[in-house]
């Protein structure tokens, strides 16, 4: 395409220029600006992403260091041999750790595990859904059966069961979430595929002898992306709740790693006397979930408008 010897007019008529793919993707992301709800969501999410990325520079203290137990928000810290002087903006917890720093580092846990868990759940769900919807027949019967069995358990019971069985750790959280949410994704994908597979362009692909996997992945899946992206944003919020709940139940990341759910759990018995230890992590979780939900709403709004 970078044939510079051709005169501009000839080049225009003979070889049309390709608009760059990444530019297009970027532009379609920018459509979110048309929805102010979506913009607020995007800003909240972006805020937490920045916080997580720059945690070591933003956090005033070491999140694991025991400095001064039960300090109220705004207490000045004189400094000692562990840490330099500073202010406990959000106070400290019962072990004397700075709440703000723990929240800042806790965002890393959530924003690391939640997307990974969502992506794995989606990968599993998409493949199951494609197979069940497109191939149908026995595949559909069996996959739907498995899905229905898993979905018939109360989700929380399922999580507790899985984590207590295989032990609390980062990887196991991902496995548990994939196991419990994959089937829901499968149902969505299956429904979309059942609709899309009757389109003429799928018939056109079939009549030129394309393989099933190519049809599923290249012809069908890209056209299901709209609803799936919206749902993924929403589900990311649910996964954050789940990680919080698991932390709260003591099934999250093993201590002393900063984990929002864990922070609430450890300090909830003191919540009446020292509300700052519990409330700030709660606000952190809620705001992030709110951010993802608003983002999903905005994406849906924008995608419907087209």
């Amino acid at each position: 395409m970078s044939d510079t010897t051709v005169t501009p007019e000839v080049a225009a008529s003979a070889t049309p220029k390709a608009p760059s793919g990444s530019m297009r993707f970027f532009k379609s992301l920018l459509l979110i600006r048309e929805s102010w709800v979506g913009m607020i969501g995007a800003l909240i999410v972006l805020f937490w992403v920045v916080v997580a990325l720059f945690a070591p520079w933003l956090a005033p203290f070491d999140p694991l260091a025991t400095l001064q137990p039960f300090a109220a928000p705004g207490t000045e810290f004189a400094g000692n041999d562990i840490a330099p002087p500073g202010v406990f903006y959000l106070g400290t917890d019962h072990l004397g750790r700075d709440v703000l720093s723990r929240i800042i580092f806790g965002s890393r846990t959530v924003l690391f595990y939640a997307p990974i868990a969502t992506v794995t759940a989606y990968t599993v769900g998409i493949f199951m859904g494609l197979a069940a919807g497109y191939i149908g027949g026995w595949w559909d019967e069996i996959l739907s059966m498995i899905t229905n069995i898993i979905l018939s358990f109360p989700v929380l019971v399922l999580y507790i069961l899985i984590i207590t069985l295989i032990g609390p750790s980062g990887i196991n959280i991902i496995i548990a979430i994939t196991f419990a949410t994959g089937p829901t994704v499968m149902r969505i994908v299956r429904g979309l595929v059942l609709d899309l597979k009757n389109r003429d362009y799928v018939a056109a692909a079939q009549t030129r002898g394309e393989g099933s996997w190519r049809i599923m992945l290249v012809e069908i899946l890209p056209n299901a992306r709209g609803p799936l992206i919206v749902d993924a944003c929403l589900r990311l919020g649910y996964v954050i709740i789940t990680i919080g709940v698991l932390g709260f139940l003591g099934l999250g990341l093993p201590p002393p790693q900063p984990d929002w759910g864990g922070m609430i759990n450890e300090t909830r018995s003191m919540a009446m006397a020292f509300p700052h230890m519990t409330i700030y992590p709660c606000i952190a979780i809620s705001s992030l979930i709110l951010g993802f939900n608003l983002l999903a709403d905005g994406l849906r709004e924008v995608s419907l408008r087209d």
């Binding site: 008529s13 018939a203 056109a204 002898g209």
Partner: protein
């Protein structure tokens, strides 16, 4: 109804003056209808014709004062019986809507509430508008159902919408509109979603009913032939303006506006021949409402356009000199254009040479199994039943030939296409394609070259292209897949050449389907089908979803490429006029069986199969010089699960001989080699049938 119905008879029923309607969107104000005038007297019927986007439905909505949140009447008046509707209160309008003015929409299923019985929905109308009691309302409803010729009104009253057929649904909708004895009936493409034979019944009904009830009608349609059959006057709309109006005969005999001429040039008439008088598509595209050219909107597409004159001023609508008084045209040059001397240069095309046999179908059968899982079925042993989608099909197609399969929905023509493409397999019989039987082979089991040689153009333009991939990608995939070219540069070169062939600009390579119009998508679909150099292409109703002028262009294109590539074309359609125009041989199907096969001339002249006869009579023809014999079919298509034992057409056949038709399969008669009719009626008798379509002789035309 209120007593103000007895108003002065000199006041017209509906009078629209200088109506301008705009829609307000993110892109700004979009003028949808500009400067619209219309006067209707009681009992008159007026047609509004035009292609999609010309504003004809907007006018209807404005009459109902039902514009939606982003539309508005900018100026002008709509007077109903002398009262300006723009100034009526919501309550007054509510009284008028559905009682003095009724509207019938395109989709009958969408107009009926699926969770209420027809009876409840019908009775609601007089109970609301006239406060009638339940019993009286029921009587009225049954009476109107009888008036719209619905058999067994009591059963229909108790039925839910899905329990009756599409034609019956539309009749029920018409009944609902008539219940309040409206003075004005608006019909927005009322038969577009229906089969031709059903359509013929409905249009006849509408014409009769409006006479019987003295109702004025506004009939909106894109089909000039239909308008000719039901209306007295017609307005031709283009891009938001009326470009020509007049009495129906005047306008059809001496059209003055170039667009009206253009429309007639796009319609295949039974007198037309693809080689001697090809369709003349209108070039270019309808301008978007906010991109209308200065002066005449039709200017950029007009052959008689004069720079500095047509684009210099607003073109007023003026009465045509020397014509009937109500004939008006919006063309500044109409006096200067001599239509008698105007002969567009038809490209001369010799008839195509027919080569060897490409496709031979012999006794092909396709049954679908339906398993009944109810207990009763298990006990009675009738667990498995068969839907006979295709029964003993036999015909062939030669190289370069165009073979059309005609029939109404449910006749099995699409099933046959599926089997041919390998999406389904035959139950019995053979389909030999270039000598090998492919009927039993799923597409996955066919060889690459077999697949490449048999390609398809699909019906629905919005569905035929994958919205996620660019046009270039979708065509080049076919080229690479079929191994026509492998080198990326050469593949690209070929795609660009194909875009040239289907007359699309080369920079469409990077366009996505949603940036294309319906006709453009269909062109890409054609390019894709021809990308692998197929020897046979199946086109499943490729133009039925397109506007007339676009359809004409796509049809011409399809034929041109076919000619160039010497391809066999299997054209599936329900539209006999298109089929007549482009095909060499025609297969008429009914309920999965072939009723008649023959060359185009043989099908269109006696001897006919009685079903062919009825089909021919049902096609609306936009030519007042054609006389048609009227044959209306009674009843509905029988269920495919339970077809008649003898001749499938026996339940509706107007020429039924007797019990033999119900009980025995009809023999195949062969009036000429290659022309086959499956019927019990002796050939001699069939030969004596009058032709359905006749041209009036010259002397009669003058009278």
């Amino acid at each position: 109804m209120a007593d103000d119905t007895q108003t002065d008879p000199n006041v017209p029923l509906l009078e629209i003056k200088d109506l301008c309607i705009s829609y307000y969107t993110r892109a700004g104000e979009i003028p949808a209808v500009v400067d619209f005038n219309l006067t209707i007297d009681r009992g008159q019927s007026v047609g509004l014709v035009g292609e999609s986007g010309c504003g004809k439905s907007t006018v209807a909505m404005a009459i109902m004062q039902y514009m939606g949140s982003n539309g508005g009447i900018k100026s002008g008046t709509i007077k109903f019986k002398g009262k300006d509707m723009n100034e009526m209160s919501q309550e007054e309008l509510r009284q008028i809507r559905g009682s003095a003015i009724s509207m019938i929409y395109q989709e009958p299923m969408a107009a009926l509430n699926p969770s209420l019985t027809i009876g409840t929905q019908l009775m609601e109308v007089p109970m609301f508008h006239e406060q009638l009691g339940e019993e009286a309302a029921r009587k009225r409803a049954i009476k109107v159902l009888e008036d719209v010729r619905l058999p067994d009104p009591d059963r229909v009253m108790k039925a839910y919408p899905h329990q009756i057929s599409g034609g019956q649904q539309q009749r029920a909708v018409i009944a609902m509109a008539l219940l309040s004895s409206p003075e004005l009936l608006l019909l927005d493409e009322p038969t577009t979603a229906l089969d031709v034979t059903v359509e013929a019944g409905i249009t006849k009904l509408i014409a009769e009913i409006s006479k019987e009830y003295g109702t004025a009608t506004i009939y909106i349609s894109h089909n000039l032939g239909l308008i000719l059959e039901v209306c007295e006057r017609v307005c031709v709309m283009y891009s938001g303006e009326v470009v020509e109006e007049g009495a129906i005969r005047t306008l059809f005999d001496t059209p003055r506006h170039p667009y009206t001429h253009g429309l007639f040039g796009c319609i295949p008439l039974p007198t037309a021949d693809k080689n001697a008088r090809p369709l003349m598509p209108i070039r270019g595209q309808l301008p978007l409402p906010h991109q209308r050219p200065p002066g005449c909107n039709y200017g950029p597409r007009c052959d008689h356009f004069q720079k500095g004159l047509c684009d210099a001023q607003e073109i007023p609508e003026e009465p045509v000199e020397g014509s009937t008084p109500d004939h008006a045209v919006r063309c500044i040059r109409y006096r200067d254009i001599d239509w008698d001397a105007y002969e567009p240069d038809y490209p001369e095309r010799p008839p195509m040479e027919v080569g060897d046999e490409v496709l031979a179908v012999e006794n092909m059968q396709k049954y679908y199994e339906v398993v009944d899982r109810s207990l009763a079925a298990i006990f009675s042993g009738n667990r498995v039943r068969y839907v006979k989608a295709n029964e003993t099909l036999t015909f062939n197609a030669k190289r370069g030939q165009t073979v059309a399969i005609v029939g109404e929905s449910g006749c099995g023509k699409s099933t046959f296409a599926k089997v041919l493409m390998g999406l389904e397999t035959t139950t019995g019989g053979e389909i030999r394609f270039e000598g090998t039987d492919i009927g039993g082979e799923q597409v996955q089991k066919r060889s690459q070259s077999q697949i490449a040689k048999l390609q398809m153009v699909f019906q629905n333009p919005s569905d035929t292209l994958n919205p996620s991939h660019t046009v270039g990608n979708q065509i080049s995939r076919v080229i690479r897949k079929f191994g026509v070219e492998a080198d990326p540069d050469k593949v690209r070169e070929r795609v660009l050449k194909l875009l040239d062939t289907v007359k699309l600009p080369r920079d469409f390579y990077y366009r996505r389907p949603r940036q294309l119009s319906g006709g453009q998508k269909q062109r890409v679909g054609i390019a894709r089908a021809f990308a692998g150099n197929p020897s046979m292409v199946i086109a499943d109703e490729p133009v039925s979803a397109l506007d007339v002028s676009v359809a004409a262009a796509v049809t011409e294109l399809l034929m041109e490429i076919q000619r160039e590539h010497q391809t066999t074309l299997l054209f599936i359609s329900h539209d006999l006029s298109v089929v007549r125009y482009l095909s060499d041989r025609i297969v008429v199907m009914y309920l999965g069986q072939i009723m008649e096969v023959g060359s185009t001339d043989e099908i269109f002249t006696p001897p006919y199969h009685p079903y062919t006869e009825a089909l021919l009579s049902a096609v609306p023809i936009a030519d007042p010089n054609v006389v048609k014999r009227e044959i209306l079919l009674e009843g509905n298509l029988p269920s495919v699960l339970d077809p008649p034992k003898g001749c499938p057409f026996s339940t509706r056949c107007p020429r039924k001989v007797g019990e033999i038709c119900d009980d025995e399969r009809p023999p195949v008669l062969e009036p000429a080699p290659g022309h086959r009719i499956a019927c019990h009626i002796p050939l001699e008798e069939l030969r004596q049938v009058d032709p359905v379509i006749k041209l009036k002789r010259k002397e009669e035309q003058v009278a």
